[in-house]
Subunit: 406 residues, 2 copies
Amino acid sequence: MATGNPNLPTLLPIDGVKIATVSAGIKTPGRRDLVVFELADGCSVAGVFTKNRFCAAPVLVSKEHLSKEQTKYLVVNTGNANAGTGEQGMKDARATCSAVAECYGVTPEAVLPFSTGVIGENLPMDRLLSAIPATKEALSDDGWVAAASGIMTTDTRPKGASVSFEYQGHTIKLTGISKGSGMIQPNMATMLGYVATDANIDASVLQTLLSDTTTKSFNRITVDSDTSTNDSCVLVATGRSSAPKIESSQDKLYQIFKEKLQDVMRALAHAIIRDGEGATKFVTIQVDSALSSEEALEVAFTVAHSPLVKTALFASDPNWGRILAAVGRAKIEPFDLNKLEIYLDDVCIVRNGGRAAEYTEEAGQAVMNQEDILIRINMASGDASETVWTSDLSHDYVTINAEYRT
Amino acid sequence: MATGNPNLPTLLPIDGVKIATVSAGIKTPGRRDLVVFELADGCSVAGVFTKNRFCAAPVLVSKEHLSKEQTKYLVVNTGNANAGTGEQGMKDARATCSAVAECYGVTPEAVLPFSTGVIGENLPMDRLLSAIPATKEALSDDGWVAAASGIMTTDTRPKGASVSFEYQGHTIKLTGISKGSGMIQPNMATMLGYVATDANIDASVLQTLLSDTTTKSFNRITVDSDTSTNDSCVLVATGRSSAPKIESSQDKLYQIFKEKLQDVMRALAHAIIRDGEGATKFVTIQVDSALSSEEALEVAFTVAHSPLVKTALFASDPNWGRILAAVGRAKIEPFDLNKLEIYLDDVCIVRNGGRAAEYTEEAGQAVMNQEDILIRINMASGDASETVWTSDLSHDYVTINAEYRT
C-alpha cells in the first residue's frame, strides 16, 4: 500500500553529476542494485548521518572520508546494509572504496560508501567488486530515474523531486532522490537521500544548509519510530550554474536557495511517508502554541507513534479519545487541559477537556475517510509550532515486517 | 489470542471484603458489568492512579475521596470509561457515589468510583443508577471470580492471583484481580487492579507497599506504549487475620508480606501481558549491568516498543539486527558498543558489535519458536538491572484496534 501520486516527477539532470546503475545481484540476481555517482571537479559535498549508536560500517567510513578529502564518487548498494557486521564490515566498506578508487584513478578517501538492506550479514564482496567496472560505461548525465529505483529496498515506488528557478537571469537546478519505507524515524537524516544542485556553494555553507533543511524534513517523519543504522543524506553543489556563488548565509541568494532546497527535501521526506510500509493514510500532525519546539515535537511524536492512534487512522475511525490519551501521556510540563484544542482538519474534536460541543461523528468521519489527514493540536501555552508526518498502522505493515528479514 | 494458562487460579475469600457483580447493561444488555466491593470497618485502603494528564473523571473523584474519608465501598463499571467527558463526567462520577452511599447508608466520600471502556461518551446514568440496589443482595464473601469477569473489556479471560502463607502460626491471605489488554503502558498503576489481604496494616505503610510493588509489576509492562486515562489499582487490608499488625517497614512481617504482595502484583501484571491484544508471545526484556535504573528502563522499553522487534517476535524470526538497532537508538549516555551483549534465553546473538561468532540461526530460531521468550541485554557499563514484560505485534492487534472503539 502507499498513498498519493505513484509517479516519479521529471528529474532534471544536474551539470557536474553523472550516475550509473548496474546489477551486482547482491540479494536478487539481475536486480540493478549498485549505483555510482561521479562528481565533477570543484563540487562541494555535505553529509548528515544516523544518530543510532550502532552505525553501519559504511556510515563510519563515509564520515571519515568526508572529513579527509574532496569527495569524487559515491557508491551505493542495496540488498545488504553491512550493519552489525563488526570488523569484517569495516574491511568490506573500505575494500569497496578501494575498488571504486582503482577503477576511476582516485584515492579511496575520495569515495563515500553507502549500503541498505538486510542487517547482520556480510556483503557478498565477490559479486559487489566484480560489478564495479561496469559502472564506468554506464555513467550518464541522465541517470537519476534509474538510480531512484536502484536504491530501493522494501519501497514500492521510486522517490524523487526536482526544481529549477531563476535568480537574476541565471538558472539554478536542484534534483534529489530518496529511499525508505520502514525502520523510519530518521535522526539526522533519512534512510538514504542524494540531492544535487548546480549552484555554486561554499562547502561550509553547504553543510549548514543540509543540516537545517534535514531538521525540517527527514527529521520530522516517522513510520514506526525505529531509527535505522544506515540513515545518510548527501548534498552536492557542482557550481556549474552561472549564478553567483553562495559564500555565507548573508548572501541574498542564500535564503532563496534554502527555500527551494527545503521544498525538495520535504518532498523527498513526504515520499517516504507516502510509501511507508503498509501506509493507507498520509497524516500531518501539527502542534501549535506550545511552550517550546521540544515540547511541540514531544507531543507530535507521541501521537505519531501511538499504535492506538495509528490503528484508528487505518480504520478511518475518528477516535479522538485515543488522540487525547496520547497527548495526555506526552512527557511535557503541566499544561491547562481546559485550554487545549484538537482538530481533524477544520473540525474541532476536543475543547474544555472533553469532546467539543459542536462536534458530530459525521464531521469527524468525513475527515477520517480522506487519504490525507491533518491532526492539529493547539496547546494554548506558548508560541512554538512543529509539524511531523506519519502513516497509519495497517495489516500490511505487520505482514511486511513479519515476513521481511531486514 | 493470548498466551499461557487460560484458567483463573483459585481465589481465596478475604475476610472483611464482600463483592457483588450485577448487570447494568451499560454497553451490552445482560452483561454483568457493575461490581461493588464492600469493605468492613477498620480496613486500611491505598490507591495508585494513572499519570496520564487526561485523568478520567472517576480517577479524579477517587483520588479526592481517598484523601478525605475512610473508604467503605468501591464501585466499578465497564463498557464506558467516563473519560474525556468534561464537567458532565465529574457530575456523573459523583452521582454514582451518591447513589451507592444512599443505598448503603454511608457518605458519598466513603465511595470510590472506577470506570473502564469507551472513551468520550457519557455514562448511561439511568441504567447505571437503577442497577445499584441489586448489588445489596448480591454481596458475597466469595465474589472474586465473578468480579474478575465483571471488570473485563477487550480482555479475553479473567485475571486473578491468590496466595496464603503462615507467619508465627497465623495465616495471612492475599487475593487480587486485574483487567487490561490494550492501551497498556501503565504509569503508576494498571488499567484496573483490586487486591485485598486480611493482614492488619497501617494505612501509611499500606500506601508505600502498594507504590513499591506497583513499580516492579504494573509499571514494568507494556502492550502498546499507550497509557490509559483510567489506570487505577487499589489495595485493601482488612486486618481480620490474627497475625500481628504491620505498623512500619521495620516490622519483621513487613518484608515477608511485601514479597508475597509483589508475587500477587506481578502475577496480575503478567496476566495482562499474556492477554495483551493479539498476543502470541510473552516476552521478558531484562537489561543488566546498566549505569542506572533509568538507563536500563529506557533501553528495555525502547526494545519493548519497537514495532519492528514486535513484528519479528510475532513471526518467530530471530531478527537480532532489529534488537540491536532498537538498543542503538535508546536515549542513553554513550556506552561501549563492543562490550554489549544480547542474548535470546541463553543463546548469545550479539557480541563485539556484531553477530556473536558462535551464533547459529538454528539456535536463535529454537528460542523464537517458544511462546515465552527472554531477551537479555548486558550493557557492561554499571550494576543496575531492570526487567519489563511485553507482548508481540500481530495481525490480531491491528484487527482488534481497527474495529474496537475504545
